[in-house]
């Protein structure tokens, strides 16, 4: 019980700190403008004449690639730079409670941004007759994808006290995990690597697991994949912080 309260206290503080600084607003505007631009100007959502949000979700991995590291880069790097980590970890919270509190704060922050795109499905419902189940699946998958990206970003933030390095690291790791299963890249590799190898590498990628959810299929294996990415990254963050918190 106390454990949950401690997590919530850390979560609340972290979430407040997003909204106390301009970061939150800059981030949300950037998120909405970027997704809007890509969906309407690049993918031409309305001109397609199909009542779904596929072109909208298509861009999510790429938008997260750029924006999630910006939201997570400060989580621990700033705490270490400013020395407040010493304050936080000498309060009666365990390291795991602090990590989970921060992780859920950042994830919740991204989820809020995602949910702010609600006018899009509403307009679609007004204009035509989209399959709301598919749209729901798309949002569900996008939220899981964001969770995985946040956990990667948080791990990168543990590794350094510089927010810039943390940002770049998170971006590189996420990019790697995206490209490993992105058809244009896998198609290149199929030419010289055995198919099973390409598939094995691709199964570690964030992309194939998101694709089926965009099409409206929630497969438990995909959900399990995202959850295991998050659990792995969180456990790694714990190990890294235990070893490097004072360095």
């Amino acid at each position: 019980m106390q454990a949950v309260r401690n997590c919530c206290a850390v979560l609340k503080r972290e979430l407040k700190s997003y909204f106390e600084s301009p970061v939150a607003y800059v981030f949300m505007v950037a998120f909405l403008v970027l997704t809007g631009f890509l969906t309407f100007s690049v993918s031409r959502l309305y001109e397609r004449g199909i009542g779904d949000l596929q072109p909208f979700f298509f861009w999510h991995p790429w938008v997260y690639l750029l924006l999630v590291p910006a939201a997570t880069m400060g989580l621990w790097a700033e705490e270490r730079r400013a020395g407040t980590i010493e304050l936080l970890l000498t309060m009666p919270v365990t390291m795991m409670q602090a990590i989970l509190g921060k992780f859920f704060a950042a994830w919740l922050f991204i989820i809020i941004s995602i949910l702010l795109t609600f006018p899009l499905p509403l307009t679609l419902a007004y204009l035509g007759d989209p399959d709301m189940g598919v749209i729901f699946c798309g949002y569900f998958g996008s939220i899981l994808l964001a969770g995985a990206a946040v956990s990667i970003g948080m791990l990168a933030s543990c590794l350094t006290r510089s927010q810039v390095i943390s940002f770049v690291l998170a971006l590189l790791i996420t990019l790697l995990l995206i490209l490993a299963g992105w058809p244009p890249v896998t198609d290149l590799f199929v030419r010289w690597a055995p198919l099973w190898l390409v598939d094995a590498v691709a199964s570690f990628s964030l992309m194939p697991h998101f694709e089926s959810m965009q099409r409206g299929v929630i497969d438990l294996r995909d959900v399990a994949y995202y959850l295991s990415v998050m659990i792995f990254m969180i456990a790694a963050a714990q190990v890294v912080l235990d070893n490097r918190k004072s360095a």
Binding site: Q2, A9, G83, V93
Partner: protein, 241 residues
């Protein structure tokens, strides 16, 4: 109330703390002295559970910091070196956060925060964000965070560092005011402070205790009877003197 048993800390090849043992009872204010790099901060970080010791342990109100870190942390108020605090938060929100993590709720939480604000005399800056505070006020805000839960053990790393004479005086008075019901450790480079607030002092050098006694006992170790001379005698390396 606080017992330190043979604490050790190595950073790679550096021996920062090499077997430090002492006890602090309720009502005592222990001055923690030593030259730069002697291992004062490292020792305090191990007692407060921030750094895991390489060897030895500390008992805080009977809780072993290695086996029951959370229980031990509950009994400690800690003012880290340089008073780190969340710059973007207001003083009030920061203290509320500290109170929440210390397990207070509702009216109790408000009461705790208010009494800490009053004790540290930071009423006028309660809505200011911490990043904009002067050093002295910042120090007091972190101090307020340390005493908010009325901890039996209070650990302060250079609480008067960089303060003006008036603020130094205020902080010393606050420490003296709380001394009776707590066990307090204060590290400092200001030797007059030892006379002013401490009931006992420890001098460490290269991670080892070289003197432990009341200010009077320490002074008697030098012919001149001045703490400065004792400090210099005990901590200067042969080749430096």
């Amino acid at each position: 109330m606080l017992e330190v048993r043979n604490l050790q800390k190595h950073f790679g090849a550096i021996r920062a703390v090499a077997g430090v043992s002492f006890r602090v009872a309720q009502g005592e204010v222990l001055g923690f002295l030593g030259p730069n790099g002697a291992g004062k901060t490292t020792t305090m970080r191990m007692i407060t559970g921030f750094l895991p010791p390489s060897g030895g342990t500390a008992l805080v109100c009977g809780h072993d910091v290695r086996e029951a870190p959370v229980e031990a942390k509950r009994c400690i108020g800690y003012l880290p070196e340089n008073a780190p605090a969340y710059d973007s938060m207001t003083v009030l929100n920061f203290l509320r956060f500290a109170a929440e993590i210390r397990g207070f709720r509702g009216a109790d939480l408000v009461g705790r925060v208010e009494s800490a604000i009053e004790k540290c005399r930071i009423e006028e800056i309660r809505h200011q964000s911490i990043g904009t505070l002067s050093k002295g006020y910042r120090q007091r805000v972190v101090f307020a965070q340390a005493i908010l839960h009325d901890p039996p053990v209070l650990i302060m790393d250079e609480p008067t560092d960089g303060l003006d004479p008036n603020q130094k005086h205020t902080v010393r008075e606050m420490i003296k005011g709380m001394a009776a019901e707590k066990a307090i450790i204060v590290s400092t480079h200001i030797l007059e402070e030892v006379d002013a607030v401490c009931s006992r002092a420890i001098i460490i050098r290269h991670g080892q205790i070289v003197a432990n006694g009341t200010p009077q006992e320490l002074k008697s170790q030098s012919r001149t009877g001045r703490l400065d001379d004792v400090f210099r005698k005990l901590t200067l390396d042969k080749e430096d003197s």
